[in-house]
Amino acid sequence: MALIQLDNVSKVFSSRKVDVEAVRGFSLSIRKGEVVTLVGASGCGKTTVLNMVAGFIAPTSGKVFLEGEPVSRVEPRCGMIFQSYALFPWLTVRENVEFGPKVNGISRKTRKDLARNYIEMVGLTGFADSYPGELSGGMRQRVALCRALANKPDILLCDEPFAALDAMTRQVMQQELLNIVSRSGQTVFFITHSIDEALILSDRVVVMSARPGQVKAVYDIDLSRPRKIDVQLTDEYLKIKRKIWDLVEEEVKASMNM
């Protein structure tokens, strides 16, 4: 049985003036332990899809299932890393990371250790007592990753979590994420603008069409793991990158000419 299943899901945002059809007839199922990335033009509805999986917004039609049950409220099994970080500005880095364990009743000592480990992993030990407002965009993004991981969700929903990082840090974080989820068996649903990032991380890449977002193509990525950076030089990699690139380009053009 699929862990996440989107069944012919559509979303229309209605306001007094206009209706915006963000997602149309989107179907996808993700197995437990899979890493699936979603690529597509800006504004094509990627975040909207993720928001429906997390239970933040309800589909206009169609259904989202988690382990066969329809999602009807905010789903704590899904840990979200928000595109805008959504860190609590009044909490320090450490307190932000501890937030999930704290509201779930984990003891003070355990969550302290948990937070320390994750903060160390993303290289922010010296900033544990800083407030988010004192950090750079890339540092905030790493804190957001820690906060989601510290809660140990079954599913990680990542909305461009590495977009603000420089190329080197980004690679390190990608590897770190892969290490963690391969150890824990967590399922990852990941949005990115970068095809390279999609290819390094995923078991499958889903290409979305221009808005209203539909599934345009799904590619199985059979590159062997662990994938080091030099996988990018292999023919297999370049072939699939070319294919996805062409599709995405088409859709970006389509979305710009509207």
């Binding site: 905010v74 789903e75 704590p76 805008s84 009044w90 779930n104």
Partner: protein, 262 residues
């Protein structure tokens, strides 16, 4: 050229200069008989008067200040205690908001002074009546400030908290309350000033102690010196309370101080 902020000490120097010039002009205009000291006593006379009112046999000034301030603070705390929780609930629930809005819209525009007749009929002129006036003058404003502050909390933060497993109550306690606190505290600062207006007015109309009462009786005796001592006492007390309030703000909002880099 850009107008940059002065350091604390430079600002203090300029401020003292301004104050000294102002007081000097005031004093001189009376010494030169440009103004009749009966209408406006000079600063020197006000100072001796203030000293007499704090040290002499009928030293009432300090106890008046204490009495007025305790009326203000008691009434203010009571309205905060009632208004903030209500405002939080209104901020998060559109149903509660819609239900209470008409009632608040009727109460809020009423000046605190307009409650004086009713409150005197109900409660006489004792302490409870003073608290009631402050409460009626502040409660609706606190509700509105709290509701607004609550509604301005970034909804994505609520989502984030819920996503991390927080219950309704935990969202309220750990996200809405701290998120609303900065706006809430600046709102409460404004309300504290309203509370002073309420107490001084109530004391002028019906009381036998407090700064408002002292100013009003002085007026009956045409004692401009005492009127001015009373007025200046209000200014100074409000200033001191304001400084205390700012200290409280810094204590409660360490993240804002650090982030703004001061």
């Amino acid at each position: 050229m850009e107008d940059t902020d002065l350091t604390f000490w430079r600002a203090a120097v300029y401020g003292s200069l301004g104050l000294i010039c102002f007081l000097g002009l005031w004093e001189i205009s009376i010494r030169l008989h440009l103004v009749d000291p009966f209408f406006l006593p000079p600063p020197s006379q006000i100072i001796t008067r203030a000293i007499r009112m704090t040290t002499g046999t009928d030293a009432v000034l300090l106890s008046d200040i204490r009495i007025s301030a305790s009326r203000v603070l008691t009434g203010f705390f009571l309205s905060v205690l009632a208004g903030v929780p209500f405002g939080l609930v209104m901020g998060v629930s559109s149903v509660v908001r819609a239900t209470l809005n008409p009632i608040i819209s009727i109460i809020r525009p009423l000046p605190a002074l307009s409650w004086i007749p009713l409150s005197m009929l109900w409660l006489g002129i004792d302490e409870q009546q003073k608290y009631a006036i402050v409460f009626m003058g502040c409660f609706a404003s606190i509700l509105v400030y709290t509701t607004d502050a609550t509604m301005r909390v970034d909804p994505v933060l609520r989502r984030a908290a819920r996503n991390l497993g927080a219950s309704d109550f935990q969202v309220l306690r750990y996200v809405i309350l701290p998120g609303a606190l900065p706006d809430l505290l600046s709102g409460l600062k404004v309300v504290l000033a309203i509370a002073w207006t309420c107490v001084i007015s109530a004391e002028m109309v019906g009381a036998n102690s407090g700064l408002g009462f002292r100013i009003w009786t002085a007026k009956e005796w045409s004692d401009t010196g005492q009127v001015l001592v009373g007025m200046i006492s209000i200014s100074v007390t409000v200033l001191i309370l304001d400084i205390a309030f700012r200290g409280l703000e810094r204590l409660l909002l360490p993240w804002q101080r650090k982030v703004s880099g001061t």
